[in-house]
Amino acid sequence: MKTIFECGAPGRGMTMLPPCDVPEVTLSCRRAAAPRLPRVGENDLVRHYSALSRRVHGMNDGFYPLGSCTMKYNPKINEELAALPGFRLLHPLQPQVSAQGAIEALYRAKTELCALTGMDDMTLQPAAGAHGEFTGLLLIKAYHRARGDDARCEIVVPDSAHGTNPASAVMAGFRVVNIPSAPDGCVDLDALRAAVGPQTAGLMLTNPNTLGIFDKNILEITKIVHAAGGLCYYDGANLNAILGIVRPGDMGFDCVHLNLHKSFSTPHGGGGPGAGPVGCKQFLAEFLPGPIPAKTETGFSLVKPARSVGRVRGFYGNFLVVVRALAYLETLGREHLPEVGRNAVLNANYMMAVLKDTYEMACGGYCMHEFVMTLEQLHKDTGVAAMDIAKGLLDAGIHPPTMYFPLIVHEALMIEPTETESKQTMDEAAAELKRLYALAHTDPEQLHSAPHTTPVTRLDEVRAARTPILRYEFAE
């Protein structure tokens, strides 16, 4: 397909703006040459981007069991509400008295998310999950510093964690102490006990873990960390499993980040914008990035906490994403929120039950919202790797599961159906996975060369990295 730079023609364009109605002014420090931007008519432009959109598989196009990403249905009403001019056209620096509805929306989102997580206060400023991790770790850092305990410079991270955890810890100035996990991804209590001490700032934990298992020792884990003087950080990536059932705050966690683009149904946008609010217990609230929405006698206001670590981004966060999440929360309400966790877990266990006679599971027992299969044996027997099965699914119009994660499982495929999929969809996907398993034994080559029906076949990633072409090169 042509790039936009190859569409259109010199001299073509659209008229968007009127002539200048005041004396025209120019700068003295002008650029040497005009930027070579596209020269397209409106029809060219619309056809180009429409063609691009047809080369994208969205959540609306089919099953999307991408483990750890919680690709649930994105309600359309939420899009309409976020596009209301009363939200969309607000200037972030207009007087608070003229933005009461917006601040109230932020306040309600904060209050309801705190209630769901068992936290006392929250910032909605972080723009994504990893941004929230960084923010939560800054709270932990500020807390220890404020007590004059500068020795606490280590963050403990299990080796089953997402890569963002250690990366965020380093950004927050901590040393990362990786501890091995048990085969089911749960925390090895002895390894944890050995790792913590007066140097421990905190533990970052994903629960349910990345193998989809709720750590049964969760209370013991937070107790061990607290006894050593550290704080407990809850990575909310997998919150969907426990939504409305149990709260991080009640498990002993001191702060948590949420992914509104996962658990709270806001669309992922092909890689954002998301939102990664950070909730915390009262003793950390004074360190939160500001300003924080608050309720006052006369209405709602935005207030900077007393010893704030400072802003982590401009203004108040991805406001329109928060509006969508609030719409979701208020649609479900107290009546239906517990159904999220219950059905997410039911669906995952059902798919696992249907598949477990064919595929080898990474661990036994019930799972939570997702489960991990290991294709190590299949790979040994047939040469067909997890990647090949994933690519085979593309031809069936199914987005592949997360591949090769967690790192502690070989040839891993991680499946998360979410609660918004029907039994029928899951049955069809499971049947396709079984068909591919059989195909691996009869015609492995067909899988090695998959996908066959997509706009392009497998792409040469090595070449892309070795000789980077990162922009269109103009002929002239």
Partner: protein
């Protein structure tokens, strides 16, 4: 139905049978019994779609949308062509995940590749990433790009947006980097103070152009001072101004970043926005976030993939150049569509109109009210003026549906864009005249 769960009670029974569990509660066996939640009393009751719509329309109705906006300071109300919302709201773009599966994500990957090209063209820089959270985060991330074992200190001009400086400070609190603010007396960065501050341990200096007060800095001269000290020169630039202004590349920048909100994004009470990051070839592997590269498929067809991922957290974990995972892809798409619709000529017009209207307003304020500018020197589409009683002036404008400039020390920081007509500017000045007379 209210939870978007499609399975029926009968199906759920069948599913439990297949699992071999007697109830859903059994599946939560690992959750300590005492911790399970009862009723979620702190949450509101469920709402039907109609009730939800009514409730949110009421909420949005409590906000004032000013007909005329003369406030900028980091968020700008520009004209947005209809195609931007129309195309970027296509469901495939909206509901897809990060394009890890390249074969079914070519549309997103190509859109990013084209966006990267447009940002390189605008800034004159060699490479661009796919964007970060916002302009302030981009400024903060640029420090990490520039520092190494020997060069550990970062510098920023006092003439930069205070929010950007604050975010840089927060990130520096995280990474234990010392951030020094270089004074800007009279609104412009003090070159002598910059020269004196930069030592052998200086990693980088961040300059905003046009700066927070709308003023044009002598970027080339400041860049030379930075390079003489062996540090990296980072520029934070307004992408609309780039249509006409000397590019960061022409000013010698090593890294050029900024807030892409003016490129087709709503002011939206502060977000979602988009931080753009561009750099020289030499700095390419230090860029954080996603980067798309062109390659070929097994049949030799051109295609696109996420590339240079050896920098990223999912491969490098604690050694990654940044922790960024999700960024602001849909905003990147919008910026690309906006730039395609405007073209070089449309963007030049937006820049020229914005700047000309701001200059007209400045001249009228001085002529009709005697309010002088607070700073000397060239400016783009923002300027600060005197104002004896800012609150009174702004209240009078607000009463007439005009959001006046932002109160700053000594007066008001005004902004004009192509959306404001001469008539609106004249009306603004006459309202202010009435306030003054009263």
């Amino acid at each position: 139905m209210g939870s978007y769960v499609p399975t029926t009670p009968a199906e759920r029974k069948q599913m439990l049978r297949a699992i071999g569990a007697s109830s859903v509660d059994d599946l939560f066996e690992n959750v300590p019994q005492g911790l399970k939640l009862g009723e979620l009393a702190a949450l509101p009751h469920e709402k039907s779609e109609l009730e939800l719509r009514q409730s949110f329309e009421a909420l949005a109705g409590k906000n004032t949308i000013y007909r005329t906006c003369l406030r900028g300071a980091g968020s700008y109300r520009h004209f947005i062509p209809a195609v931007v919302a129309s195309l970027s709201s296509r469901e495939e773009f909206v509901t897809a995940y990060t394009p890890y599966q390249a074969e079914i994500s070519q549309g997103i990957l190509q859109a990013i590749f084209e966006y990267q090209t447009m940002m390189c063209e605008l800034t004159g820089m060699d490479v661009s990433n796919a964007g970060v959270y916002d302009g302030a985060a981009a400024a903060a991330e640029s420090i990490t790009m520039c520092r190494d074992r020997r060069r550990t200190k970062a510098y920023v001009s006092a003439s930069a947006d205070p929010q950007v400086i604050e975010v840089m400070k927060t990130y520096c609190f995280g990474s234990d980097v010392e951030l020094t603010v270089i004074p800007a007396p009279g609104g412009h960065t003090d070159p002598a103070a910059l020269r004196a501050a930069l030592g052998q341990d200086a990693a980088c200096f961040y300059l905003q152009q046009p700066n927070f007060y709308g003023l044009i800095e002598d970027a080339e001269a400041l860049g030379n001072i930075v390079h003489e000290a062996g540090a990296k020169f980072v520029m934070g630039v307004n992408p609309i101004a780039l249509a006409v202004m000397k590019t960061p590349a022409e000013c010698g920048a090593d890294v050029a970043v900024g807030e892409a909100q003016p490129l087709g994004l709503d002011t939206a009470f502060g977000g979602p926005y988009l931080g753009f990051m561009t750099a020289t070839h030499a700095m390419m592997r230090h860029l954080p976030g996603r980067i798309v590269g062109q390659t070929v498929d097994t049949e030799g067809r051109t295609g696109y993939v996420l590339t240079l991922s050896a920098r990223e957290q999912h491969i490098r974990r604690e050694k990654a150049s940044s922790n960024i995972c999700s960024n602001e892809q849909l905003c990147t798409l919008r910026a690309g569509i906006y730039l395609s619709a405007m073209g070089a000529e449309g963007l030049r017009q937006a820049a020229t109109l914005s700047m000309s209207k701001a200059h007209y307003l400045a001249a009228q304020l001085e002529e009709k009210l005697g309010w002088k500018r607070l700073h000397e020197g060239e400016f783009f589409h923002e300027f600060a003026s005197e104002c004896p009683n800012p609150q009174k002036a702004l209240d009078a404008l607000a009463a007439q549906g005009i959001l006046g400039g932002l109160p700053v020390e000594g007066g008001i920081l005004w902004c004009a864009t192509e959306l404001v007509s001469k008539e609106e500017l004249d009306r603004t000045v006459s309202i202010l005249e009435e306030v003054e007379r009263a």
